[in-house]
């Protein structure tokens, strides 16, 4: 009995040491792979609950061990704890998304402000519906209208811009060039009034970047109204900024300002795509844009403002209908005033705007197309690009699509995306994120689940599980011992 007592005693004293050694080993993660899952049945030490609570249902039980939580309003967030420094993280999510055309996952990244997210799709219905032949690898899918390439590697080595290539959610590290582009000194003028914040692409090749904006402040609200014109290069670095201060009229009883002009003239720039941001409130009206550049395409938002609603401030407006060349797959239209209620022509279809402050959606079957606004005072939104005419339209996002819409000029689609797999009535999909630019606070990563149209469509998304797998280089024994000694030193 004494012998058994000694054995039991040794076991009792050794067990905590063995447990601690195992936990330490797991935490250091010499294999380079660590996986954690949150199933809504009970809290996970690594993955937090989804928040904010007011956008979510309580966890709902499906069967003994299966629960889900419903997202009623987007976006929602969760955080994951990092035990070590990892290189990348793969998130797999089990979900149901009956309504929304796009459901995506975002990772908070380091940027100019706190709200920077790198998004990757989990469910993109326009891509899922693509009925072309496809080749898949672990993280990429290539869809081809006609089978030309046998492997994705051969596609990446040999594709040219002229083949009608679109890239979605993947960095091909290939600069966008327009073949046969001819620069010139001729100044083009766009005389349509646009209101508030806008972003547009332009393209230069052996020429200066020249823009002149005619600006007026309507002064309908109290306070200063400033315009910042920012220029970004193809890598999204801000290379130039110019500020136009307030017109000096601060009261909402003041008249609209007289025209003022902002000119940007930048020489010796590298050939390629540039983005120009007109950063201002809706008080600022851009009455005219003059440029030496051939191409000018607005990104995601265009607010047409030539409408009698503003004739108290601007007496020289042209109220003619305005036509827009658009490559947006799902268009959203809204007006803020009764004078903007109208029938809008979208291709050969008509959409009636009969209420103010309400977003009207239109799914486009064939892209690109012409949108004609009869009365303007119309906010046009969409995941894609707009131009004032076909000649000034170009799409530098073909190598970096924000969303995909099948069109005649696209023959190949390469995407960092797989169609979600269906398992027991739930969809499962995952995406892998590099963590080198991730925002890490208190050793935690922040993630966002988003579906841009969900709130307007009153859609719901159900989440059944969230699984995260962290990856880093496996450790050698030397690294393991060095890390262990460091850890002990830290404690001492």
């Amino acid at each position: 009995m004494k012998f058994l007592y000694r054995i039991a005693r040794i076991l009792i004293y050794l067990t905590p040491i063995i447990i601690f050694a195992s936990l330490f080993y797991l935490d250091i993660c010499p294999s380079g792979v660590a996986t954690f899952t949150y199933t809504f049945k009970e809290d996970s030490p690594v993955i937090t609950r989804l928040f904010p609570e007011n956008r979510l249902s309580d966890p709902i039980q499906i069967s003994k061990d299966n629960y889900y939580q419903q997202i009623n309003q987007e976006p929602v967030y969760f955080e994951t704890r990092l035990s070590q420094k990892f290189d990348s993280a793969m998130i797999n999510i089990e979900f149901q998304n009956p309504e929304s055309s796009l459901f995506q996952l975002g990772l908070a990244t380091i940027g100019d402000d706190d709200w920077n997210y790198q998004f990757m799709p989990l469910d993109n219905k326009s891509v899922n519906d693509l009925n072309w032949s496809k080749i898949e690898t672990d993280n990429l899918t290539l869809w081809q209208r006609n089978d030309k390439y046998k492997t994705i590697d051969s596609f990446l080595k040999n594709f040219t811009n002229e083949e009608g290539v679109a890239i979605y959610n993947y960095d091909v590290k290939k600069e966008f060039k327009i073949s046969g582009y001819q620069s010139g000194d001729e100044i083009r003028s766009f005389d349509h009034t646009i209101r508030g914040y806008h972003n547009f692409y332009t393209y230069i090749e052996n020429e200066e970047l020249y823009f002149n904006f005619k600006v007026q402040d309507i002064n309908r609200k109290t306070g200063p109204d400033v315009l910042n014109v920012n220029v970004y290069d193809a890598e999204n670095n801000k290379i130039y900024t110019k500020r136009l201060d307030d017109d000096g009229y601060l009261s909402n009883l003041d008249p609209a300002s007289l025209p003022r002009y902002v000119t940007i003239s930048l020489g010796n720039l590298k050939d390629g795509v540039y983005r120009i941001e007109l950063d201002c409130e809706d008080e600022i009206f851009i009455r005219q844009i003059k440029t030496k550049q051939k191409y000018l395409t607005f990104i995601e938002r265009l607010y047409l403002a030539d409408n009698p609603e503003y004739s108290d401030g601007f007496v020289d407006m042209d109220f003619s209908p305005v036509s827009i060349y658009s490559s947006v797959s799902r268009i959203s239209l809204e007006t803020a005033h009764p004078a903007g209620l109208q029938e809008v022509l979208i291709g050969s279809s008509r959409l009636s705007i009969i209420e103010t402050h309400k977003k009207y959606y239109f799914d486009v079957n064939t892209s690109p197309l012409i949108i004609t606004s009869q009365k303007n005072d119309l906010k046009i939104y969409g995941n894609g690009l707009f131009a004032f005419d076909k000649d000034s339209y170009f799409n530098p996002e073909m190598f970096n699509l924000k969303n995909f819409q099948e069109s005649d000029n696209i023959n190949f689609l390469l995407a960092g995306y797989h169609e979600p797999k269906s398992v027991d009535g739930w969809l499962v999909n995952g995406q892998t994120f590099d963590l080198d630019k991730a925002q890490i606070n208190n050793r935690k990563l922040r993630w966002m689940l988003s579906s841009p149209e969900m709130n307007d469509l009153d859609g719901k998304i159900r989440i059944k599980s969230i699984k995260i797998t962290y990856f880093k280089e496996p450790m050698t024994w030397e690294e393991f011992w060095a890390k262990s000694i460091n850890f002990i030193k830290k404690f001492i």
């Binding site: 009995m1 058994l4 039991a8 009792i12 797991l26 935490d27 954690f36």
Partner: protein
């Protein structure tokens, strides 16, 4: 008189109680220094459950510590009081069931001690 087997059993359970309680304090401390090192992979509720369960068994089979010497008796009671205080103080992180269990148990043991002391 107690048999040898009973004495050894009491010693084993006594060790189990002391080791599990001490390990709980240590792990809790380590968790405070590096969040996640313990809790990412191990449920910290397990250790106080083992401590409390072994303490009850110990009381039962040692007839309220009568078979332990006075220093062992004191050590056990001290560790248990510290463990209990700790659980109540940091109890927010423990499961509700465990909290209720510990509170009820503490009351029972306290009453037993009071009755025994007043005899």
């Amino acid at each position: 008189m107690m048999s040898d087997n009973q004495k050894y059993l009491i010693k084993i359970i006594n060790d189990l109680f002391l080791v599990s309680a001490t390990t709980f304090f240590l792990f809790y401390g380590i968790e405070g220094i590096k969040t996640g090192l313990i809790s990412n992979y191990f449920d910290l509720n397990i250790l106080p459950i083992i401590s409390v369960a072994s303490f009850i068994i110990l009381i039962k089979i040692s007839k309220n510590f009568e078979s332990l010497d006075s220093s062992g008796k004191f050590l056990n009671q001290l560790v248990f009081v510290i463990l209990f205080s700790f659980l109540i103080f940091f109890g927010l992180h423990l499961s509700i069931l465990l909290k209720i269990f510990v509170i009820i148990l503490f009351f029972i043991i306290s009453i037993q001690f009071i009755i025994k002391t007043n005899k």
